[in-house]
Symmetry: D2
Subunit: 342 residues, 4 copies
């Protein structure tokens, strides 16, 4: 059975990877590292895992990770790029849940992440892990850049329209909303319960790091730079992303049929019946993206509603889906779980 490791397992994407991997039937989790928690039992930090895992956090090291067939990085941006070259050389497949390998242009990386890229020569090889877009390349990838949470929801919502060339590419709008777990597990005043519950706000309107990622993806699809306004908001809940997308159709078309056909074979994209309003809770804990399309009366816009669980399809679940593809396992292995309701 393939052996997998996790570098940086103490944040929310890390513990979500743990939740999925400890019951995955076809891989074995053998290593988990965290500089800050070396020596601590994993289930002491996360009592929800008592009875499911017998590991202790280790110091990250090439020697330790070399035992693995696949290594996940659930680390802050800029960490994976320091270790990936030597892991690849050691023949290990790498899945990075951070942003290090998502942007193809190292200058764009520098501009948005404020650090020089440590291995720009790998950017071209890295495969952007959106299976609905890049399934075949993923299957043979050594280095996989797992997409961001917003970019997953936004791209899955815009893709059918853009690939068919049906909308004005220069005035796309993504009004996106995320639960608080998207901000991570670091101790910060703004994400305290008393600061973020019973309130709603936009943030990063001047510029958010997921803008270049979405812009790169959508522009690649249409073959030129799209015009995209991207406004993220914080929702007083733990999990979930809701993307409300606006585009202007060039000419009338049956958008519902387009989406249903486009995603007909996808195991984790679910196009809802016409007139639906997907709730984020309908994917809470599951790897699904649910999408509804609307053409409101009195409006020149087509409106797409796209929901995911930011920690699953927006992070750890999609990473496992990618791992399954990279290991030639059935794509849904370990991911066939309905959302928790209520």
């Amino acid at each position: 059975m393939p052996s997998v490791g996790i570098v940086g397992g103490t944040g929310y994407t890390g513990v979500e990877l743990l939740r999925l991997l400890v019951i995955h039937p076809s891989v074995e989790l053998t290593v988990i590292t965290s500089r800050s928690a070396v020596g601590q039992r994993v289930d002491e930090m996360f009592p929800s895992l008592r009875g499911f895992i017998d590991l202790t956090f280790s110091e990250p090291s090439l020697e330790l990770l070399s035992q693995c067939d696949v290594v996940f990085f659930a680390t802050p941006n800029g960490t994976a790029m320091q270790m990936v070259p030597e892991l690849l050389q050691a023949g290990i497949k790498v899945i990075d849940l951070a942003a290090d390998f998502r942007l193809k242009d190292p200058d764009v990386w520098l501009q948005w992440y404020k650090m020089e890229h440590a291995c720009p020569e790998l950017l071209a090889e890295a495969v952007y892990g959106l299976p609905e877009l890049n399934r075949e390349q993923i299957k043979t990838a050594r280095l996989l850049a797992n997409p961001g949470c917003y970019p997953t929801a936004v791209q899955l919502g815009f893709l059918p329209l853009l690939q068919q060339g049906l909308v004005q590419n220069e005035r796309l709008i993504a009004d996106v909303k995320s639960g608080v777990s998207g901000a991570g597990r670091g101790a910060q005043v703004p994400t305290l319960l008393c600061e973020s519950s019973e309130s709603f706000k936009a943030y990063g309107v001047a510029g958010h790091r997921h803008w270049p990622e979405v812009h790169q993806g959508l522009s690649a699809v249409v073959g030129h730079s799209v015009g995209l306004t991207f406004v993220p908001h914080l929702v007083p809940m733990i999990r979930g992303i809701h993307a409300t997308l606006y585009a202007e159709l060039k000419q009338p078309c049956d958008v519902q049929a387009l989406f249903e056909e486009y995603y007909a074979e996808e195991p984790f994209v679910d196009v809802l019946p016409a007139g639906s309003h997907p709730e984020t809770r309908s994917v809470k804990g599951s790897n699904h993206c649910r999408i509804a399309v609307h053409q409101p009366e009195n409006s020149r816009h087509v409106v797409i509603l796209s929901v995911i669980d930011n920690l699953v399809k927006g992070a750890a679940g999609q990473a496992v889906q990618n791992m399954n593809l990279m290991l030639a396992l059935p794509e849904s292995t370990g991911l066939r779980m309905p959302a928790m309701m209520p």
Copy 2:
């Protein structure tokens, strides 16, 4: 001291009116009616008011209400229009917090509210109670249509741009988000805690009753029918509205300065410093609207963020503000309270 009455005091706008009126220094609350709660003490239904009110719910009647100088209707849509004509004839000023007198065209009313209007002859006289737009007419109004919650936040956000003719009026977008109290106090499955907490969704994308109200208001300002896409969402919190507004500027301009100047004298509209992101909690329980304006890099849109408490500036607080104007009291009387934080 002027005497005021409330028809229909058992919903959220009703109890919010109560919260404000029981400590209002210049009016006396003397009557409150509710068909469903006749004979019940008000503070038995709302223990938060114990010690502040000694009234009992009465059957609504002209005789009883005639003792009042001002009557508020906090009733479902379609109720006020049945009683208003006789109240006006009796010389009583009326403030309707429902939608009965907001739309000028009875056909539009019929289309969106699915009932014939009972007194279309009063629609022209009714004053739309947005003080920032209609302050002078409000002062002399007999019949006041208190604006809807979304329409308050959206119009206050768009007004400066539209009055100056700075944006393309045919492609306005209002992506609006409301706390659950906007759905009222009726017992319904979708607004149970277990259905609406820990989740986020859009609703009414095909068409929402606040669309014609906003459309009417904005169109009146620019002198022709504007193009408006309006998408409401439900936020898992009790109070608060956040409007994220998108418009395309016709030419570069200093939007920040425009807004600051436009609202410089307004007691309840607060334009935040450049770069701000207003949180709905910054107005929780207060009558303020806080606004921030952005022109994101990489975007052709100006983005306006406008927040209110849907039950205060979006309902009961604005109604008291209007009452103050109608009674020639200082406009802020009884409304000088900071938001509750946290």
Copy 3:
């Protein structure tokens, strides 16, 4: 593969049964009934199940249910007792998630549930489905009374102390707290988000239906009527029960060791290390009960903290655990899932 049916699948225990059964590897869900939703697709009511279930709600009937090996009742109290006799006669095993068969004395049933019991002759036969107490009888049961949510958490917390005769049985206190899903999916004002979030209250202090159930269970263990004060509270969250239990030790003893030993072999009861404070979220979505024991300085009481997910170990999960036992399947089949965190 055994075939199972659900009567009354539209409430929270019903949909939780669905979540567990659609991925259970050793049984097949073939029937689900609901008088109010006949003809509706299950995944239309619960979009979280799209892709997992292809059933439609049926009218409940003996004919239909006779195809099943096991039938779950997720109905209101008083419904199962009307249908159970004929199902048993047809050779079908029954698991009732309501209270119909929990109380052994029909007079006590009448007193607390305000209706005559329809089949008191079955009360003696019905097995109370707390596996940690009655595992052997459960294996051979035809009729299983699945315990209430509070009674599960409270009895698992008190059992070791009472079975060893270590505490004063006449002054037990259970201060218990439940998430709102315990109140069901019916449309009611008190469980609206705007009524029950951001607040905490006790309820039913004068008498709650879980009192006689806990009293019966604990009294049976010690052989006489125990003295029990039982105070339930409503917590502003969806899932979870936290029982804080107080008892006075007759003499000093190592309570930690006692609990660890008592539950050493139990797959779903987890005694935490000394000094722990279990969080309800550590069992959110899982079938575990986590327990911690304390003997505070400055106190004559031993304090037991016991948490479960009211919909899993407190309802649907325990029902599946019981079904596994009744069908001679491994007890944990389909229930090996860590809690969702965060």
Copy 4:
């Protein structure tokens, strides 16, 4: 008009003091200090106060504070005791919202707060600011120790029973629950929204600093050391404390009548009708304590339910109430506000 200052105004008790003092009609807030925020405008940190305050955070200094008639300390434990002696010498009245002057015995202080007391000679003089217990001493106090949040709710609930000698003083239980704002505004992982919402837990069962405070207060009332078990819990909400109190009556008595009579003249203690269950939201933002008493069937215990807003009657509101008494203002000045509902 008396001038007041606040030392340490950046935490939750500080900003709540601000909310109350900026609209207090009979005092003027002239100074606010914070070492960490020197030079920052108060309304920049707390936008909810925009339009209500024009102050900037200052460095704390005797010179600055000497301009005030009253100084509030909203600082961490151990800070006030460093500055109080010189303020008193300068003739300034001091109200400490921290614990520095609550415990009469410096050894007990040392044991629970792990630091030597800086001015033990002032402990005897300091008045414990529970107006319902010490109103007369408060009126003449120079140095006031504002009670803790839990101690306020618990003592108000037990006082009538203990003063009348009606219960067994050696087996009192306080099962208390608090909203998360009680944990303060510091950046800590356990109080992040993603860690503390959708969950419930006990904490500090082994020993909590409010135990000695309650123990001291209740023991003083009865004249000997009471037996008290005290178990605090964290509720996933911002504000509110609910104390569930258990005591055994020595003999039957009309507890409802006792409480109603005991608190008949109190402006901020409200005894609810028999059979009531007070909700914490009924005091959200208000200075009231609401109490209900129960004698459940099948129980040997009297159960008292006592709710307050931890930031108001449990901190800043009670401090203002004490200030009013110390300045010979009407006790309710600036505090006549109903709770926010919903």
